[in-house]
């Protein structure tokens, strides 16, 4: 059975985020009052998620977070590029301990210090295909070194269509990415399509026919099926997720983005309780 490997230091997980930073990300995010730009909402959400992943890896008082994950963050506007800053500037990939150490601590609205890695960017076009190809290069190297691990998870969050490739080329890049595998299963590619207006979110659909347009159907086709582990996570959050659902969210408002990212990044650590 695929997707059974638990996460531990000998079998770390790998999560790669592909984040749209095109000009349209300056528009307001659906489900935010007062309105917050999609770029800001996405940066906040990914910062919170990175904090959660670091938190899962902290075991003892005087230790760095344990090596349970490698993390990659790629942004794309006119081109795809790594988004880590500070001591990780220029790096596509970093261990969870390196990510923890690279955080900037910034006071939030609650007056408390919060770790921050990403700041909002909204500029240029949508080099999504380039980002998927770059993710493929990174994942391929990681897989060579971690054949017994849970396969890499690539989560692509975007509000628009790829401007750097026609649909068939985008599909080819995504197919190649999803075709990579460890001994535990094929790489998982999930897509989250952000909403501007208050449209109905559709999370983890089973059938492309119910999607509103050709573009959503295309992203549906690019997305992996959710493994049982993640389906259970979705159901635990009250999201309907029967067999054969895809890791795709259409017209995602902020709450749905947060939930979908949690579902897609909660692996079976040597923890669970």
């Amino acid at each position: 059975m695929p997707y059974q490997q638990t996460i531990d230091r000998r079998h770390p997980g790998c999560i790669i985020f592909l984040l749209d930073q095109s000009a349209s990300m300056a528009e307001p995010m659906g489900g935010t009052t007062p309105p917050v730009s999609k770029a800001q909402a996405l940066a906040d959400t990914v910062n919170n998620l990175l904090q959660t992943i670091v938190r899962r890896s902290v075991k003892e008082q005087d230790e760095l977070p344990r090596y349970y994950y490698d993390l990659g963050i790629i942004g794309y506007g006119n081109e795809a590029r790594p988004l880590f800053g500070g001591s990780l500037s220029g790096r596509y990939f970093a261990s969870v301990a390196e990510v923890a150490e690279a955080a900037q601590e910034i006071a939030g609205l609650d007056g408390k210090l919060h770790p921050v890695w990403l700041t909002p960017v909204a500029d240029g076009r949508t080099a999504m295909c380039g980002a998927i190809e770059l993710a493929g290069q990174i994942a391929n190297g990681w897989i060579q070194a971690h054949q017994d691990s849970f396969p890499p998870i690539v989560i692509n969050v975007s509000d628009g269509k790829a401007t750097d490739a026609k649909p068939d080329l985008l599909r080819k890049a995504a197919d190649e990415l999803r075709g990579m595998a460890t001994a535990d299963g094929e790489l998982l590619l999930f897509n989250i399509n952000l909403s501007t207006a208050a449209k109905q979110s559709i999370a983890f659909p089973v059938d492309a026919k119910k999607l509103p347009d050709e573009y959503s159907r295309q992203l549906f086709a690019l997305s992996s099926r959710l493994p049982d582990l993640m389906r259970r996570q979705a159901e635990r959050r009250g999201m309907s997720a029967g067999p054969d659902v895809r890791g795709f969210v259409c017209n995602a408002d902020l709450d749905t983005v947060i939930q979908a990212l949690e579902v897609g990044t909660t692996l079976q650590q040597v923890e669970e309780y």
Binding site: R9, Q61, Y273
Partner: protein, 256 residues
């Protein structure tokens, strides 16, 4: 007066990473107290909390009021005394917790408080029998075997389902009430020749499975040489007969 002998066993979830060990086993034949605990892997400093609990149990757990003359039924006063003891352990833990020096340790301490399942056995020797009391939270379990038969497993039974979310004794002040409400106590009597096994969840699930499938085999439970236990666990894990998890056990024999 009956006597006791005991042996503790451990087998880590990852043989190459002993620092990942988060279970604990401790016993004192002299005080008649035996305990295992399983630190919740999702929690911060869980292994240390499990160890503090088992060590504290064998040194400071209060004797039941009626012992050693006879075991009393577990009344609300006894339950309250046991709950107060657990609450005191949480207070001591919180008072002694070192101040985190990094943002991630601060974050983990606040959001993933140390938590553990626990089972402790208190044995009091008598002329021809021993009285026992077990206190448990979650799925760490006591097995009482007599004449090769499983007399009782507690708190899990052959009908129970193990899952990833057992009750836990947590050090979070705002969840303490819920933890204390999950404390369960049972008492009973044991005779010379009887065996007790305290085990954390992976071994408990295995033992209950053996009872269901081959009760006779469970009756052969006793002491192992340390190498023998290690070899047995490796074989069970290789055959996927036991969950990949830390295993802590204490075996106690009642002797004439």
């Amino acid at each position: 007066m009956v006597r006791f002998s005991a042996q503790a066993y451990s087998f880590p979830k990852d043989l190459t990473a002993p620092e990942e060990w988060e279970d604990s086993a401790a016993y004192s034949v002299r005080t008649g107290r035996f305990a295992v605990a399983d630190g919740a892997a999702a929690a911060y400093r869980a292994g240390e909390w499990a160890e503090q609990l088992t060590r504290a149990y064998i040194t400071s757990f209060p004797a039941p009021a009626g012992f050693p003359s006879a075991p009393e039924p577990v009344g609300p006063e006894r339950l309250q005394a046991v709950q107060e003891w657990f609450a005191e352990q949480v207070r001591l833990w919180r008072e002694g917790a070192p101040a985190p020096t990094t943002w991630w340790a601060r974050d983990a301490a606040a959001s993933r408080p140390s938590s553990a399942t626990f089972a402790g056995l208190y044995l009091t020797p008598h002329d021809t029998a021993a009285f026992w009391e077990v206190s448990a939270i979650g799925d760490s379990c006591l097995f009482h075997i007599s004449h090769g038969q499983l007399m009782r497993s507690f708190p899990m039974s052959p009908e129970s389902r193990f899952n990833k979310h057992p009750d836990l004794l947590t050090t979070a002040q705002n969840r303490l009430e819920g933890s204390l409400a999950a404390v369960q106590i049972r008492t009973g009597q044991a005779l010379p020749g009887d065996i007790f096994v305290l085990a954390t969840d992976a071994a408990s699930e295995l033992l209950l499975g053996i009872h269901i499938n081959d009760a006779l085999c469970l009756g052969q439970t006793g002491f192992f040489g340390s190498g023998e236990f290690f070899g047995l666990m490796k074989e069970l894990r290789k055959n996927q007969a036991i969950e990949v998890d830390d295993v802590a056990m204490v075996v106690v024999a009642v002797r004439p």
